[in-house]
C-alpha cells in the first residue's frame, strides 16, 4: 500500500520533468531508465537521513525559458561571466582566452557521475535544462576566473543546469559558482557538475550559495583527478530553504592534492547539508578537509564527510575536520566524519567538535566597550577565519568576508 503510494508520488514528481523534455538519448536515456528503478530519497536512506525532502517531493516545478537580456552580477570584475537564468546558460560575457572552449552541452556522451545510483544526479542527467562544457587545453593557464551566475526569474521553477569542466594536462583554472537571490520562491535547483583534471592539472572552485531562503538547492559535484593534479573547492553556504551539497572526489592518480573547505552559516529555519566523499584510489596523495558551521535560530546543519583509502593507496595523508558553533538552543547539527581505510601505511586524522561561543571571550570584549552583538560577530568571524583565509582568490575572499559581515546580526 505505502509502496504503491510512494511510487505514485515519485511518478508524479518525475512526470513534471519528463513531460518537459522531448527527445532523450545517450547517457540521458540511461539515466531516465535508472530513475525508474530508483526511489525518491527519504530519511530512511542513510545518505539522506537528516535531510527531509518532502517539500521538494510535493512541489510542482515548471520550466520557464527566460527571454530577455542578461545582466552580469559580478563578484569578480576580472572574471569571464556566464549567466544561467532559470537554468538556461547564456552566451559568455567578454572575450574568451585562447585555449579555452566554452560550448553548449546538448547531449551527455560520457559521465563520471553516479547517475545510476543517485536519484538527483540521474534526474539532472536525464532532464537537465541546459548545459555547458568548459575545456581548458593542456598547458593553458586561464587568467580570468570563469564565473557562473545562477539566478531565477519567476517562482516554482525546475532549474537543472549541467556543467562539465575538463582541465587539460598542466592547465590551470579558477571557477566561481555564484547563486543570486532575486526574491523568488519555490525554485528547485538541481545542479550537476563533472570536473576532470588531467595530469598536473589545477582547478580551484569557489561556490557562493546565496540563492535565497525560499529556494531549494541540490548541488552534486563529481571530480576525477589524474596524477599530480591539484583540486580545491571552497563552498560557502549562506542561503537556502534546503541546501544540499554532494561532493564526490575520486583521486585516481598518484601525487595529487585535494582540498575541501566549507563554511555554513545557518539562521532562521535554513537547512544546510554538506556530504563529501574523497575516494583515494592511488598512493602518495594528500587530502585535507575543513568545514566550519555556525548555526543560529532554528537552523539545521548536516556534515557527513567520508574519506576512503583503497588497498593500493599507500602513503596517503588525509585530514578531516568539522567544527560547529551553535548560537541558539534550537539550532541543530548532525556531524559525522568517517574514515574507511584499507591500506596500512597512511596518516589519517579526523575530528568533529560542536560548542558555543566562549562566554568568557564575549565578556572580555564587552568589558572593553564592544557591544554584545559586535563581540559575537567578531568571535564568529574569528571562528571561520582559517577557512576563509585558505581561499587564494582574493576578490572572492573579500566578497565573502563582506557578506559574512552582514549576515550575522546575532
Amino acid at each position: 500500500m505505502s509502496n504503491t503510494l510512494s511510487i505514485d508520488k515519485k511518478g508524479k514528481f518525475l512526470e513534471q520533468f519528463s513531460s518537459e523534455k522531448k527527445e532523450i538519448s545517450g547517457i540521458s536515456k540511461l539515466a531516465e531508465i535508472a530513475l525508474e528503478g530508483l526511489s525518491f530519497p527519504t530519511t530512511r536512506d542513510e545518505y539522506w537521513k537528516y535531510t527531509r525532502l518532502t517539500k521538494i517531493q510535493n512541489g510542482s516545478f515548471s520550466i520557464q525559458k527566460f527571454q530577455g537580456t542578461s545582466q552580469v552580477h559580478s563578484i569578480n570584475e576580472r572574471a569571464l561571466h556566464i549567466e544561467c537564468i532559470n537554468g538556461f546558460f547564456q552566451e559568455p560575457v567578454g572575450d574568451i582566452q585562447q585555449g579555452v572552449t566554452i560550448e553548449s552541452l546538448l547531449e551527455v556522451d560520457s559521465s563520471i557521475s553516479a547517475f545510476q545510483d543517485e536519484f538527483f544526479t540521474a534526474l539532472n542527467t536525464a532532464y537537465f535544462t541546459s548545459g555547458i562544457r568548459v575545456i581548458v587545453e593542456p598547458g593553458v593557464q586561464v587568467e580570468k576566473s570563469i564565473q557562473l551566475n545562477f539566478l531565477s526569474v519567476g517562482s516554482d521553477l525546475q532549474v537543472q543546469p549541467r556543467i562539465e569542466v575538463v582541465v587539460g594536462q598542466g592547465a590551470s583554472c579558477n571557477m566561481i559558482y555564484n547563486w543570486h537571490n532575486n526574491g523568488q520562491s519555490g525554485n528547485f535547483y538541481n545542479v550537476n557538475s563533472e570536473m576532470q583534471l588531467a595530469k598536473n592539472g589545477d582547478l580551484n572552485v569557489h561556490q557562493l550559495q546565496t540563492g535565497g531562503d525560499e529556494n531549494y538547492l541540490i548541488n552534486s559535484t563529481y571530480v576525477a583527478q589524474q596524477r599530480d593534479s591539484r583540486f580545491a573547492i571552497h563552498t560557502i553556504c549562506l542561503e537556502g530553504k534546503i541546501l544540499r551539497n554532494n561532493l564526490n572526489i575520486k583521486v585516481e592518480g598518484e601525487n595529487c592534492d585535494t582540498k575541501l573547505n566549507g563554511v555554513y552559516l545557518g539562521q532562521g529555519s535554513q537547512h544546510m547539508d554538506n556530504h563529501t566523499y574523497v575516494d583515494h584510489i592511488a598512493p602518495n596523495c594528500q587530502s585535507s578537509e575543513n568545514y566550519k558551521g555556525v548555526l543560529n535560530d532554528k537552523s539545521t546543519g548536516v556534515f557527513n564527510g567520508k574519506v576512503m583509502v583503497q588497498p593500493n593507496a599507500q602513503k596517503i595523508s588525509a585530514t578531516q575536520s568539522n567544527q560547529n558553533v551553535l548560537l541558539s538552543d534550537d539550532a541543530t547539527i548532525n556531524s559525522k566524519p568517517e574514515l574507511e581505510i584499507y591500506a596500512d601505511d597512511v596518516v589519517c586524522a579526523h575530528g568533529s567538535t560542536t560548542g558555543q561561543l566562549d562566554d568568557e571571550a564575549v565578556f572580555y570584549l564587552r568589558s572593553r566597550g564592544v557591544s554584545e552583538k559586535s563581540a559575537k560577530k567578531m568571535l564568529i568571524k574569528a571562528f571561520i577565519f582559517d577557512v576563509l583565509e585558505d581561499i587564494k582568490l582574493e576578490s572572492f575572499k573579500d566578497h565573502v568576508e563582506g557578506i559574512v559581515e552582514d549576515k550575522f546580526e546575532v
Binding site: 566562549d358 568568557e360 571571550a361 565578556f363 572580555y364 570584549l365 564587552r366 568589558s367 572593553r368 566597550g369 564592544v370 557591544s371 554584545e372 559586535s374 563581540a375 567578531m378 568571535l379 568571524k381 574569528a382 571562528f383 577565519f385 582559517d386
Partner: protein
Amino acid sequence: MLSIKNLKASIDGKEILRGLNLEIKAGEVHAIMGPNGSGKSTLASVIAGREDYEIDGGEVTFNDKNMLELAPEERAAEGMFLAFQYPVEIPGVSNINFLKTAINEIREYKGLGKMAAKEFLARVKEKKELVELKDNLASRSVNAGFSGGEKKRNEIFQMAMLEPKLAILDETDSGLDIDALRIVANGVNRLKSDDNATVVITHYQRLLDYIVPDFVHVLYQGQIVKSGGKDLALELEEKGYDWLTKGDTVTEEA
C-alpha cells in the same frame, strides 16, 4: 567617582559579598587586599558587570550613575576598565581591530564620530611604548599564545588605549616576574592623573612598592574589615591576615 554601598552578591546561591562599602575619588589609588576567597575578584567582576553573579542588594554608582543597571560595554563606555586576572585568549580576533571597534563604539555611546585612522594609529604607537609592548603583539590575535607577562602587559596596553576614568587591576601582579611587574606598574603610574582613579586588587604587598596606594582596604568574608594608609599593606605583609580575621568582632567592625 565610585561609590559602593552595602553591596551584596552571590553566585550559585553562595553569598560572596556581604554588605561591602567603598568610596573612591578621582586622583586616588586604592589597594584591596585580602586572603583567598575573601571576594576580591568577585568585587572586580561585579563592578565590571559579569553576568554570572546575582546582585542581592546594595548599590554601585559611578559618577552618579547606577552601574548595576548597565551592560558591561556601557560601563566601559562610562569609563570603567577591568584588567583581568586571567586575560582571555581569543584566536582570530586581532588586538588592534578589536580596540578600534571598542574605541569607536565607546565614542558612538558618547555621541562622537569615529576616530580618524591616523589618530588611532598614533595612539597605538604611543601606548605601545608605554608598556614596552613588542611591535607584533599589538597586531596579533588577542592574547593568543602570549606569555603570562605579555598578557598582563596587553591588559595595560588596552587600558592605555581606552583611557578609562577608573581602572580596576585584578591581581595584575600574579604570575609576573620582577621585570614584567616593573613595566606593568610603570605603565599604570604613567597613566595616573588627577582625573582618574585606580583600584589595585592584590594578594601581595610587592606590587604596592611600585604602585603606591593612597588607601589600603582589607577584604574578608565579603566585607571591608579594615581600611588604612599604605602602611597597612606593610603591616599585612609582616603579620598576615590572621590578626584581622580572628573573631566575629573584627568582621562586624566594618
